[in-house]
Amino acid sequence: MGCFLTNSSVGKKLVMSISGCFLVLFILFHMSMNLTMIFSREGYNLICEFLGANWYALAGTALLAAGVLVHFVYAFILTINNYRARGKQRYAVTVQEKGVSWASKNMLVLGMIVILGLGLHLVHFWSKMQLVEVAGCEYATLTLDGVTATAHPANGALLMAFTFSKWYNVVIYLLWFAALWFHLTHGVWSMFQTAGFANDTWYPRLKCLANIVATLIFLGFAIVVVVCYFKSGEYFTEMANWHPAH
């Protein structure tokens, strides 16, 4: 039974579907967590502190990394298979078929953009938070508009204010979210189809659900980034002298 997930086309697609579903659920959690930032920086840091480098957060991070890795590796295995199956000779004339979304034909490219953005995101935040705690590195010192602060690993709000005070980071993150939006408009309904939970009645509903989920995720993340850009100075000063309660 175990091998059909690695040696059959439908099984490999199921792995993509389940790992994708897991990543969507994580992203929804991450987005909800980020939204706290708008209402309370203290509250946001409480969540950062709660997660930190505790065993459950580390186990979660490892599981998440495994999820990303499986989704990524299988995407490449499937794409190489597909490229071979298409044959060496390509069509001279091609068209965009009716009802076929652009995203559905460019999932790998969109996924690569998402992975590149993820790399940058890890450098911006994870390397200054959980990694610092685990590795016991020195805390970073950040300066914004003449205010200098030491970035405690649980002071996520300070890092957010600092990172999104730079306009180019805002642009890069928004482009990243846009790529994720396209990826999810196809990915979310597609995971139901691959697992076999779809039919002609449910296609419009599932595609609508995919658009809603993708848009919610885009807006949820984008709003935090934009608000942080406009209020970066205020938030930075507010959190400059923050220390964890425990």
Binding site: S8, V10, N81, N82, A85, R86, K105, G196
Partner: protein
């Protein structure tokens, strides 16, 4: 009507092919696409040239023999019809029409526009049948079948096995064809019995023959001359996964 035809010419499976351009004039708007090809071949024979090889048989849209990738569409730009059912009125007078063979690693070109679609036969032989005692014809109403099931089965059975799905799919996937066969039998009591074995055998053969993986673009159903829905692919996924989980 006058047309410029850009047609893929290839001597045999091992030769390198290339596009050649031909001119056909005074074609009636009500000429079918294959009749237009016949006229071109007639002209070529009169000129002492080699006619263009292309597949065709019933010319009624039921045998699945005709193929051709016309102006970027499998079976041409008309919706839900095979190449033989398409008429020249669909094209603009004076336009250039590009005609290519199916392109898929599992469908090698034999000559010009003719490809070997034997891979589909091999998938069918792997499980696209029901095992029954051959005897006198059974009573058609002996086993009651709900109308909705019978309709769905018939919709899937409309597949003519032409290969347009794999030829259109950017992944060269044969899932729509396999799904139609699995689905049409799975919805009927006679086919239900061997459902699990069939789904596993046909998917395994499809993978073995080098077809790609379905990424749910839906391009196959858009180009299918019989408008087979990708809902049948969802059923194939269900059938296959349920069968594997029971193993």
């Amino acid at each position: 009507m006058n047309f410029t035809l850009k047609i893929w010419r290839q001597k045999d499976a091992k030769s390198q092919g290339a596009f050649e351009t031909y001119q056909v004039n005074d074609i009636s708007a009500d000429t079918s696409f294959l009749e237009m090809m016949d006229i071109l071949n007639n002209n070529l024979i009169h000129e002492g040239k080699e006619p263009v090889a292309f597949d065709h048989d019933c010319r009624e849209g039921i045998c699945g023999m005709c193929s051709m990738h016309i102006n970027g569409h499998a079976h041409g730009p008309s919706q839900a019809v095979t190449t033989c059912q398409m008429y020249m009125r669909k094209f603009k007078d004076g336009s250039t029409i590009t005609i290519e063979p199916w392109r898929s690693a599992a469908f090698p070109v034999i000559r010009d526009l003719v490809v070997d679609r034997g891979a589909y036969d091999k998938i069918l032989q792997a499980g696209g049948f029901i095992s029954v005692r051959t005897n006198s014809v059974p009573d058609g109403n002996a086993i009651p079948i709900p109308k909705a099931d019978a309709d769905e089965s018939m919709d899937a059975a409309a597949c003519v096995g032409c290969g347009a799905c794999a030829a259109t799919c950017k992944n060269g996937s044969a899932m729509l064809f396999v799904a139609a066969r699995v689905s049409s039998l799975a919805k009927l009591p006679q086919g239900r019995v061997e459902g699990a074995r069939r789904a596993k055998a046909m998917v395994a053969k499809m993978d073995e023959l080098g077809f790609g993986n379905c990424t749910n673009t839906g391009a196959c159903q858009a180009q299918c001359p019989k408008s087979i829905s990708i809902a049948h692919i969802a059923r194939l996924n269900r059938e296959f996964l349920a069968a594997k989980l029971k193993d």
